[in-house]
Amino acid sequence: MVALVRNLLRLPPAADAGSQQDMVRPWWARVGILFWLCVGWLLLIGLSAIFADVLPIQDPLTTNLDGQFLMPFADGYVLGTDGVGRDMLSRIVHGARISMLLAFTAPFLSLLAGLALGMSAGYFRGRVDAAVGIFTDSILAFPNIVGVMVVLFFLGATLPVMILALAFFGIPAEVRVARANTILFAEREFVLAARAQGASHLRIMVRELLPNVIVPMLSLVLFGMSIVIIIEGGLAFLGVGFPPPTPSWGKMIADGFEEIARAPQVTFVPAGVMFLTILSLNMIGDRLRALTDVKASAV
């Protein structure tokens, strides 16, 4: 999909982002217009979510049983109404809070845990590496969506539980990247020099390795953000997401599915918003990864 959009907009391929011609241009020009469109979309969604309570939109919980399944722009509803006449725009804006909150917490918690465990494994190796390997392999034994479903079933589908569950099942990917990069940098000259000067393990890990390891991991976080949004949608579709009437994008899609023949907009409007958000996160992640590849090779 990313390659398709790139071709449509005639953008240079990601691998070319670090070419000689590109290197002379400032970074903000090198990332391309699509990158900034994506940033703009995410800003729009993020700001709408933050200021949802003060925006001139309807209460997302107020029903209007005289106006069910209204099409966009009918009776003053910009994005139409759902099966009980609730304003779709308002629910999408308030639903963005859930999606954005999950996207900006769970992957960062995974990143923190992944960094700590992955760097320890990559730096100390031996038993620490083996223990961390068993831990990550054990988590990977469960498909993440099934694991999160089990947790939510027993502990209840609340926001903190979902954040922690998603963060937990996101740890293995972060651990593997952190470990691999730590192994890569742990034998480099600047680390050996620090070690020769008597620096402690903690100092070496934080001051010497972390700045090099964290850069590729940040782009992974962006992919993690899109994954947690998708998982939230999948869980809502399976009926184990947030309880009604809490608006969330996944729940809106699931609610609309039953009526897809009669009122397809009830499903496709939130699905479109989710699609654009995930596409934006992936595009930004893709671009940032291309930029950080250049930096890594320059170290």
């Binding site: 029903t63 049983l65 069910q68 099966g83 309880p243 599915f257």
Partner: protein, 528 residues
């Protein structure tokens, strides 16, 4: 000139006559049952097996399938509402209605060649009432009529159904399709019931028998070679496809991948637009959609609060939330429009938010406690939307409520059984063909009354009047009086009563108006 005109009239008349005759013969040909062909029915879920003692399911999609395999004593013609003899020829009550003598049809055989006789009935009902130490007996009794004590053999083809109290509605109940009436071959039962595969290999006396059951995919039935009425076996093959989401079943019907489906109200306008599809509707003999209070705990033990909650609701609007298609008015009793026991005159606390607010203010002022609660509901989209709409209506009069969908599967009823609930939505799927069945569940001594913890002397007295009345008119009067007491006491909130809607492609013939909780796929034929 006159002669020419007369001749023209004669020719025209002859042509008209011939045309009419052709049309009539065409219509007759279409109505004449045709043997052969295959019928595919799309249903929402798998059957989980065919032994009704092992699979304690009252689900209607299961009934479509199992009644084709087992058949029953009587059936109701959906168009005429006439009770037709099937495996039984007649049923006669004793003077006190505590016993019904049923004469069985001779020559009825199971698909394995065994006779369906009095012994088969006695074996079957003894198993239902005493098997596993009788702990499941209540489930069957509530379908067959309360207080069934047992079935006794009179001669080889006559049995007596014995009840502890009068049961004037027995024949109506016996005509309803449910798992209690589906008798299996006694010798086959004795030899095989301990085997694990017994649940997968049914032997019934219905027109069709199992050819193949692919778990989660389909059940395929073929003609039973020992069926008693060979003229009534039209189809070569009857297949039930399991397609869980309703929208997919509707699409399967439109695409011609299914011939007939059960459909909810929301899809009717869409299906009626299709010239190849016909929709017929009839009453569903169940209690319908309601919500019940936990009467054992405050504030629901206070009639002011219960009435306030009903006053706050626009019950007619709630019907819009349920399927997206509004009904002209909300249901007002436990039977619903078209049901023989429907009571149209019952009056409920009217929609009056001001009155609701005044009652709530009075209660809060007196107790100092705000009214907040949770509504547990069935885990489907319709129930969820209905409760969402109700909560919004309550919110407008200052009541704060949350909602929680139960887990999928039978576990959704756990809060009700444990008593840990405030308000519980329920769709009563048990047959309510007669008032002596689940409609009387709110009597404090009814086994199900503990679910809602109702101990209301007015309701008890009204139920006792229903149970002691004899004669159709007297029973109907008592039944409607009971429905009014339920409304006056705000014992529950009735809001909708789904009808049974059957949508089928036009080549499917023999479809009757549904009456009950299923339709008879095994009585249909195809004319392609």
């Amino acid at each position: 000139m006159t002669r020419r005109l007369t001749r023209s009239y004669l020719y025209a008349g002859a042509a008209l006559f011939a045309g009419a005759a052709l049309l009539t013969s065409g219509a007759q040909a279409a109505d004449t049952p045709k043997r052969g062909g295959k019928l595919t029915v799309a249903v929402q879920q798998d059957v989980a097996g065919f032994d009704n003692f092992r699979v304690l399911s009252f689900a209607h999609f299961r009934q479509y399938i199992l009644q084709a395999i087992y058949e029953r004593m009587f059936e109701v013609d959906g168009d005429t509402r006439e009770i037709k003899p099937v495996h039984a020829l007649d049923a006669t009550p004793s003077d006190d209605f505590k016993s019904w003598r049923v004469t069985l049809r001779k020559g009825v055989k199971f698909s394995n060649g065994e006779d369906l006789n009095a012994d088969a009935y006695v074996t079957h009902f003894t198993r239902l009432l005493t098997g596993k130490k009788g702990r499941f007996a209540g489930r069957y009794r509530r379908l067959m009529g309360p207080y069934l004590e047992g079935v006794e053999k009179v001669d080889s083809h006559t049995v007596d159904f014995k009840f502890r109290v009068a049961n004037p509605g027995f024949k109506d109940m016996a005509a309803q399709p449910n798992m209690s009436w589906w008798v299996t071959a006694p010798k086959y039962l004795a030899e095989n019931q301990a085997k694990p595969e017994f649940n997968e290999k049914p032997v019934g006396a219905g027109p069709y028998m199992l050819k193949e059951w692919r778990d989660g995919a389909f059940v395929r039935l073929v003609r039973n070679p020992n069926y008693w009425n060979k003229d009534g076996q039209y189809l070569d093959e009857l297949t039930f496809l399991f397609i869980p989401p309703e929208v997919n079943r509707v699409n399967a019907l439109k695409a011609g991948n299914a011939d007939i489906i059960y459909v909810s109200r929301g899809f009717i306008p869409e299906l009626k637009k299709d010239p190849n599809i016909t929709v017929v509707s009839g009453p569903r003999l169940s209690v319908g959609q309601s919500i019940g209070f936990n009467h054992s705990k405050p504030p629901y033990n206070d009639i002011r609060v219960r009435k306030a909650l009903i006053h706050a609701l626009d019950r007619q609007k709630v019907t819009c939330a349920h399927t997206g298609i509004c009904r002209d008015r909300a249901e007002n009793d436990m039977y619903g429009e078209g049901h023989p026991w429907h009571c149209p005159a019952v009056k409920w606390p009217e929609h009056d938010p001001a009155k609701a607010k005044a009652l709530i203010d009075e209660y809060v002022k007196e107790t100092g406690k705000p009214i907040t609660f949770n509504v547990d509901h069935f885990p489907n989209a319709q129930a969820e939307k209905t409760v969402t709409a109700m909560i919004d209506m309550w919110r407008k009069v200052g009541i704060s409520a949350t909602q929680k969908a139960g887990p999928r599967g039978p576990g959704f009823i756990r809060p009700l059984l444990s008593g840990k609930f405030d308000i519980f939505t329920f769709v009563e799927n048990f047959s309510n063909a007669d008032p002596s069945l689940v409609a009387t569940r709110f009597h404090s001594k009814h086994p199900s009354s503990r679910q809602f913890h109702l101990k209301n002397p007015r309701i008890d007295a009204a139920v006792e009047k229903v149970n002691s009345a004899t004669g159709t008119a007297e029973r109907k009067k008592a039944s409607c009086a009971y429905q009014q007491v339920l409304a006056d006491e705000a014992a529950l909130i009735v809001y909708d009563h789904p009808q049974m809607h059957i949508a089928y492609r036009n080549h499917v013939k023999g479809v009757k108006k549904p009456f009950g909780y299923t339709f008879d796929a095994h009585r249909l034929w195809v004319d392609k």
